[in-house]
């Protein structure tokens, strides 16, 4: 009796089909959390060189730190904010995070209350506020607002948000809402501009000591946006950003698809060649 044999390419076709089904189901209903905005800590007075002047917006019972921003990808679900304390905290501090359509509205799209543990916090630290993903966050303007409940806190504890000396984020702006009497709550981190070029060319006007005018402050706090959106939409935004401003065929998604297909084919044939006819190691 002749044995039934499955031909090798059936395995290949089966594997391709299985992979396609998994891929399609993931594209259709999965989540994609690859993208997040990068951190530019050096712009906030935290680089090794400390070339730039930064500010610290202190979180007091009456103050609010606001930052408007534009979300780029779908599925915005987490925002990390660079907090700073002057030394170790003495006790836990409650923070309230609001996400709104704009800094002027009162309606919270998302609200997160959290408590910062005194034992975990010292110096500078990104603190993440996680919430239910916003699926329609592509190119959408938002504002997050941060305030701290420090009523139970003694005066020794200071918790603040790192902010830049000048406008470094072109798609949004930070605001520090505080009663007029408390404008001194802003502290300034002075740069150490030790390079002669910096002293004389760029930084001299910046490091001049002037009274801080809160209304004219053009600044941004250091934050990161994290996305966990649907794969198809996320890939669409990625391709748009990849091709933006590029000349000739470099602005065509098909060109990149072509490159990827050629590259993967090359890899496949290379591995196949090596596996099938592994040269003898004499």
């Amino acid at each position: 009796m002749r044995h039934f044999q499955i031909k090798p390419y059936f395995y290949l076709v089966g594997a391709v089909l299985l992979f396609s089904v998994i891929l399609m189901s993931w594209l259709w209903s999965g989540r994609f959390s690859l993208f997040q905005t990068s951190s530019y800590m050096s712009l906030y007075g935290l680089s090794r060189e400390h070339l730039y002047r930064g500010h610290v917006f202190l979180l007091t019972p009456d103050s609010k730190v606001k930052q408007s921003f534009v979300s780029k990808y779908p599925g915005l679900y987490k925002i990390s904010v660079l907090l700073t304390s002057q030394g170790k905290l003495n006790q836990d501090i409650d923070l309230v995070f609001h996400l709104r359509e704009s800094c002027d509205t009162q309606y919270d799209l998302r609200r997160v209350g959290t408590s910062i543990s005194a034992s975990d916090f010292d110096g500078d630290m990104f603190y993440a506020f996680t919430f239910e993903p916003l699926d329609d966050s592509i190119d959408h303007e938002f504002c997050f607002i941060l305030n701290a409940n420090l009523e139970q806190n003694n005066n020794k504890d200071t918790l603040g948000v790192r902010a830049s000396g000048v406008d470094v984020y072109s798609e949004g702006k930070a605001f520090y809402d505080t009663p007029p009497k408390e404008t001194e709550a802003i502290t300034t981190v002075e740069p150490i501009a030790n390079h002669p070029e910096y002293k004389h060319k760029f930084f001299l006007p910046l490091i001049q000591s002037e009274p801080m005018d809160v209304d004219k402050l053009d600044t941004d706090v250091e934050f990161q946006l994290h996305y966990n959106g649907r794969p198809l939409e996320t890939i669409g935004v990625f391709i748009r950003r990849l091709t933006n401003h590029k000349p000739y065929f470099f602005n065509s998604p098909e060109f990149y698809a072509f490159l990827v297909v050629i590259y993967l084919s090359g890899l496949f044939f290379l591995i196949r060649t090596v596996l099938a006819k592994n040269p003898r190691d004499n």
Partner: protein, 483 residues
């Protein structure tokens, strides 16, 4: 042309269908990878790329030699700031934009870029300019194109240099190990799939040319050592040395390497005892070390060679090289070297996660131990496996090893002299010894794998590099560049 013909004749006897098909695939992959890397990295987001581009543009399009005076009087490319803004370059590198943040309005490159990066413009009177002069005619032809297109074209020239290096590396290793086909594939796949190599060789930078010149030197050297010296080969070697002198200080190691070759070659001919040859090589290494310290002390890291003759000689300050502070600095530099090998992209500001760095350091340490074991067993007098290699192969491996050592001296000497992180050991600085490094890395890994598993070595090596690259792309590059 004569050299190419002779080379083609020599390689004919080394042909192997599997290797040739693999080489064609590797060459194709190098080109495709080059296109991917040059297009995903925003214009100017590569090490010193704005400075190299501006120097090339001044020579090619403005017909001016890029001296300090020329930078002070010639406006930079009118689209440069626009491109920096469109691609968020200043933000991506974590620096203030001179125009947007600092209200700086000058259109002079020397005030736009160098002060922000605490660096210098590339000036023809204090910098080795062979690369810039070589590609300047291409820049001249591209003058009517928009700036981004010009950058992509010039980046592609570097990709072509790298592709040629792949072919040269393949040929070199085939000459050394004609029977052991695995080595040629392993070395070329190292060169093709090393992410940092792909990034730098898809940017406007003199490193791709420096690497090509050094690789050609190794090829001709191997050929000469195997077939004997001729006037033609001698001229080619000397010419390559001359080109190296005007390309980059990272290629200066070829000089002591050539002296080492002569010592080994003459020593074999005259049947010198190992102790005599070893002593001569040790003296050469010591002289190279001391000479490098003098060179870097007096010539701004080897870039301002002319200043050697115009200013009084400064002596190395030996006591500062061995202090506790210096030791601490060297350890930090070693850490930087591991990061730079694993992945330090852009303006050295896009790096692999720190956990990877620790794992990579352990892996590299293991590979280094494997290399030491290989050297002890195969090259050291009295080694247990000395009969596995021919005299020719052992000599070439010894020369490669010395080349790596001389290159390392050239990288460490400026660190010792300056004690400054700005002279960190960037991986691109040892691209010129990429063939010997790739070969010894593979030999080190092979040494660690038990012989029965050697069948899986090449597939594992290849798949390992591919997986590493996938991780680099999806964890490091894409999230940073497109978020």
């Amino acid at each position: 042309m004569l050299f190419v013909k002779k080379w083609a004749l020599a390689t004919r006897q080394l042909r192997s269908p599997i290797l040739e098909s693999s080489l064609i695939l590797l060459v194709g992959l190098t080109l495709v990878r080059g296109l991917i890397y040059l297009s995903i990295f925003p214009p100017f987001l590569a090490p010193d790329e704005p400075a190299h581009f501006e120097a090339i543009r001044l020579i090619g399009q403005e017909k001016k030699w890029p001296t300090h005076e020329v930078y002070l009087t010639t406006p930079m490319h009118p689209q440069m700031d626009l491109i920096f803004r469109q691609y968020r370059i200043w933000t991506l590198v974590g620096l203030y934009s001179p125009r947007e943040n600092l209200n700086f309005t000058s259109n002079l490159f020397i005030y736009y870029y160098p002060p922000q990066v605490a660096g210098i413009a590339i000036q023809g009177d204090s910098y080795l300019m062979l690369y810039h002069a070589t590609v300047a005619p291409i820049a001249a032809m591209l003058a009517s194109f928009d700036l981004v297109s010009q950058i992509y074209f010039l980046r592609f020239v570097s990709v072509l240099f790298a592709t040629t290096t792949v072919v040269v590396a393949w040929s070199t290793i085939r000459f050394v190990f004609p029977e052991q086909k695995i080595f040629a594939l392993a070395v070329t796949s190292f060169i093709v799939f090393w992410p940092m190599h792909s990034h730098i060789t898809a940017s406007i930078n003199s490193d791709a040319l420096a690497e090509l010149i050094a690789s050609l030197f190794f090829l001709v050297l191997v050929l000469t050592y195997r077939k004997g010296i001729t006037i033609f080969r001698g001229i080619v070697l000397i010419s390559l040395l001359g080109l190296a002198t005007f390309t980059k200080p990272t290629v200066f190691f070829l000089y002591p390497t050539l002296v080492a070759v002569l010592i080994i070659y003459i020593g074999r001919r005259l049947r010198w005892a190992n102790i005599v040859m070893g002593t001569l090589i040790a003296i050469l290494v010591a002289m190279t070390w001391i000479g490098s310290l003098f060179l870097f002390e007096n010539s701004n890291g080897g870039r301002s060679l002319l200043s050697l003759f115009s200013s009084p000689l400064r002596y190395p300050n030996w006591s500062t090289y061995v202090s506790l502070d210096a030791l601490n600095f060297y350890i930090k530099s070693l850490n930087f070297a591991v990061v730079s090998f694993g992945g330090l992209f852009g303006w050295s500001n896009i790096h692999i996660p720190w956990m990877w760095v620790r794992i990579l350091a352990v892996v590299l340490l293991c590979v280094m131990l494997g290399v030491l074991a290989f050297i002890y067993q195969n090259l050291w007098p009295g080694g247990t496996n000395r009969d596995n290699l021919s005299r020719y192969q052992k000599d070439i491996l010894l020369i490669f090893l010395l080349a790596i050592l001389f290159s390392a001296i050239g990288l460490v000497a400026p660190l010792m002299v300056n004690q400054s992180p700005s002279w960190g050991i960037h991986s691109r600085y040892y691209f010129p010894v990429i063939i010997p490094i790739a070969l010894f890395c593979f030999l080190g890994v092979r040494q660690l794998i038990p012989t029965p598993f050697h069948t899986f070595l090449l597939p594992g090596w290849l798949i390992g590099w591919i997986l590493y690259e996938i991780a680099i792309f999806w964890v490091v590059l894409i999230p940073f560049l497109f978020s």
